[in-house]
Amino acid sequence: MKALRSLIDKIKPNFEKGGKLEKFWVVFDGLETFLFVPKHANHNGVHVRDGIDLKRTMFTVIIAMIPALLFGMWNVGYQHYTAYGEASTLMDNFIFGAIKVLPIIIVSYGVGLGIEFLVAGMKGHSINEGYLVTGMLIPLILPVTVPLWMVAFASAFTVIIGKEVFGGTGFNIMNPALLARAFLFFAFPAYMSGEIWVAMDPAKTLVDGYSGATSLVYFDEGASALTSNISTTDMFMGTIKGSIGETSTLAILLGGLYLIYTGVGSWRIMTGVFAGGYLMGLLFNFLAGSAYPGMAVPAHFHLIIGGFAFGAVFMATDPVSAAQTNRGKWIYGLAIGAFTVILRVFNPAYPEAMMLSILFFNVFAPLIDYMVVQRHIKTRLKSAYQ
């Protein structure tokens, strides 16, 4: 590593102010700090610091996404071969999936990071790590059949409209990756719903009675349609159709536990979302009538179908767009979970409610915090004058 270090030190002057490659300072700095944690010492205040930094935090989130990613790759292959009734091994499924998924990841990172570097260069600030996570989230919430140009489009939209117009990582008001998903959903509805969840091969013939419907489609037809077509185990394990990373509740929960254990993800938000969804589901079960078949679907199904788990673990917990106070996080989580179930039940035309629910409460998070702070002030005053 000494050789690499001395090489970097040798070429560094070229990029510093007055050097001939001054314009590329941001790129150089980004790469240097990626390779070496800088030796910056503390000046004022504390003399020692916690080992964690934003790079490590983002890296931890990426590790947490790996189970969902690997399972998603396998499931892409599995869904493909199942559709044609072909036998396939674990490796076959995985390799097929990897060939389909990796290009999406590469395009997402390439375009997103490219724009990040460009904007950082223009504004002269250092490159933020935020996109390391966003760049992985985008592929995981898209269908595998999404055209690559659309991924590029979504990544660009995320970085520019989702983040940079607000001032970069830490200043955005909505979850950037979800914003990309919403953008694609409304701009290109044909590519975002319908028979899009399985990578098809026009040269082959589908098995008899094949249906490309996801759990959410069956959900709208009522409890019996859901339970007769897909088993609970499949829904939990994730051998169902859906976006690349969202299907396996198990893989997502593994990531969620890792986030909670390391202290990076908020357990309050995650628990809140699951509890909110489940409780609202129970309430609907109690009130179930004929007008809305979704009301009768057992409450626990809400947690394992569609993007519920993925949203709870990886999307709602984004600290920048979520509520910031501890009490606010509970309210925010519960509200997202409950609202998702309400949308699913009352608006069958629009099945995936998780995305809009999170974006909706991203906008309301500051208001939730405001109420929590006001309440805190009141109780402080009250206890002071007792």
Partner: protein, 450 residues
């Protein structure tokens, strides 16, 4: 949180470092030059009363504070003023005294005799300069003579990293400590002593008469007087409390029993880069060069007057300040670390479990002065709350300070806090924010406006 009279602090974090102080007490002889540093005192603009060439006795006035002329700052030793050392903009940094071989003291014994009343005690404390040991909350400035504090708080344990063991320190001066408490009783306000629960050696404090004793449990910052005040009797708008360190009570006790102003201190020397750690019996203003010379590891070190969270970054040569009781030496950050954010990080201390160092809970760390990453916009929430054991919303309060929103700062409890209470927030911050600096700014704004 109070249970059987024990206040349990749950939120906080103990930073375990290599280099605890050995329980050995050595004598540090008086150095040739002794210095008084006006910069030790918050909000004090010194007006000189002496000049180079003047002879002073221990306890003689050196300067006073411009806006509060009753505050006199005195010589800790007798000798000849050799220099009034100034820095930028002619700011007075050090008043240097060539110490006498035979120390001469100003005699306070006539006025310091019993009975002790508020007036007589105040007069002697002010005249001797010992008054400056009494500070107030809010703001951590020197107490105002006319204020009626609702209590005097003394934290009898220091929970900061590598902090000195105050039980051991005060055991050397138990009688003077008790005399000091009796002097403070002349103010006729409750005196609160906060002790660490369930440790041997705290009888030195628990046996003191005429005070309220509180027991605390839990991690740092449980030993911060601000945290203790918050849990014992929070400061309401318009209220003032006073606080001192136990060693300062000793000085006051000695002043009133012997009639001499002699600000002695037992200072701990700690840190991973110290060869032989120990406690040193010395006096405020003495040079600490002698205890560091040949006693620190070679290489690039950081010298800290105080602890690693709140201490002052100093050179290897200098003088012990008015409120100091600890010197820490740690390595400077000298090398950038290859893929430091990616590796398992067994040697990296973190409140989070993102590094594998959580596998070994009791490990003592050799931390250097590295920031461990670059400053970023505020992203990760919920961290500060884990290490601030107060009914205060830290992030919202800091935002109110940055927005200069006076009303909000007041409502969110700025009068209860000080920089040291937020030091752990700064330590754990993923975005490497200068938290203590922001708190300082907020307190300064409130002092000037109030």
């Amino acid at each position: 949180m109070s249970e059987n009279g024990v206040i349990k602090i749950k939120r906080g974090f103990d930073i375990k470092l290599v280099g605890k102080t050995n329980p050995v007490i050595k004598d540090l002889p008086l150095s040739e030059i002794v210095a008084v540093k006006p910069t030790d005192f918050l909000e004090v603009i010194p007006k000189m009363l002496v000049q180079a060439g003047d002879e002073v006795k221990a306890g003689d006035h050196l300067f006073y504070e411009k806006d509060r002329p009753e505050l006199k700052f005195t010589a800790p030793v007798s000798g000849e003023i050799v220099e009034v050392f100034r820095g930028e903009k002619r700011k007075i940094l050090e008043v240097k005294i060539l110490a006498d071989k035979e120390q001469k003291y100003r005699d306070f014994s006539a006025r310091a005799s019993q009975p002790w009343t508020r007036d007589s005690v105040t007069e002697v404390l002010l005249d001797s300069g010992a008054w400056n040991m009494i500070r107030q909350r809010p703001f951590s400035t020197i107490a105002k003579v006319d204020d009626n504090p609702k209590g005097i708080f003394i934290s009898c344990f220091d929970s900061a990293p590598l902090a000195p063991d105050l039980n051991l320190v005060i055991l050397q001066n138990k009688d003077a400590f008790e005399a000091g408490i009796r002097v403070l009783q002349a103010f006729n306000v409750p005196i609160h002593l906060s002790l660490r629960n369930n440790v041997t050696g705290n009888e030195v404090f628990s046996s003191v008469k005429g005070v309220k004793i509180h027991y605390f449990e839990g991690p740092h910052p449980a030993g911060n007087v601000g945290i203790q005040i918050h849990h014992i009797s929070p400061i309401l708008p318009g209220q003032v409390v006073w606080y001192l360190d136990p060693q300062q009570v000793v000085t006051i006790g000695n002043l009133f029993t012997t009639g001499k102003y002699k600000p002695e201190r037992i200072v701990s020397l700690s840190g991973s880069e110290v060869k032989e750690t120990a406690y040193y019996r010395t006096i405020v203003g003495n040079s600490y060069n002698a205890i560091l010379e040949g006693n620190v590891s070679e290489g690039y070190n950081r010298y800290i007057l105080g602890n690693v969270l709140t201490g002052q970054h100093v050179k290897a040569e200098g003088y012990i300040g008015f409120y100091d009781q600890q010197i820490t030496v740690i390595p400077e950050s000298s090398e950038s670390e290859f893929l430091g954010w990616l590796l398992p990080g067994f040697h990296k201390l973190s409140l989070s479990r993102t590094f594998f160092s959580w596998l070994n809970k009791d490990k003592e760390y050799k931390l250097n002065s590295s920031q461990n990453g670059e400053e970023r916009a505020f992203v990760v929430t919920g961290e500060y709350e884990k290490v601030l054991p107060m009914n205060i919303l830290p992030v919202q309060l800091l935002k109110a300070i940055l927005a200069k929103d006076f009303e909000m700062m007041e409502k969110l409890g700025i009068y209860e806090i000080s920089e040291e209470d937020f030091a752990l927030c700064e330590f754990v911050c993923t975005s490497k924010m200068p938290v203590q600096q922001i708190v300082s700014r907020g307190l300064e704004i409130m002092r000037k406006e109030g």
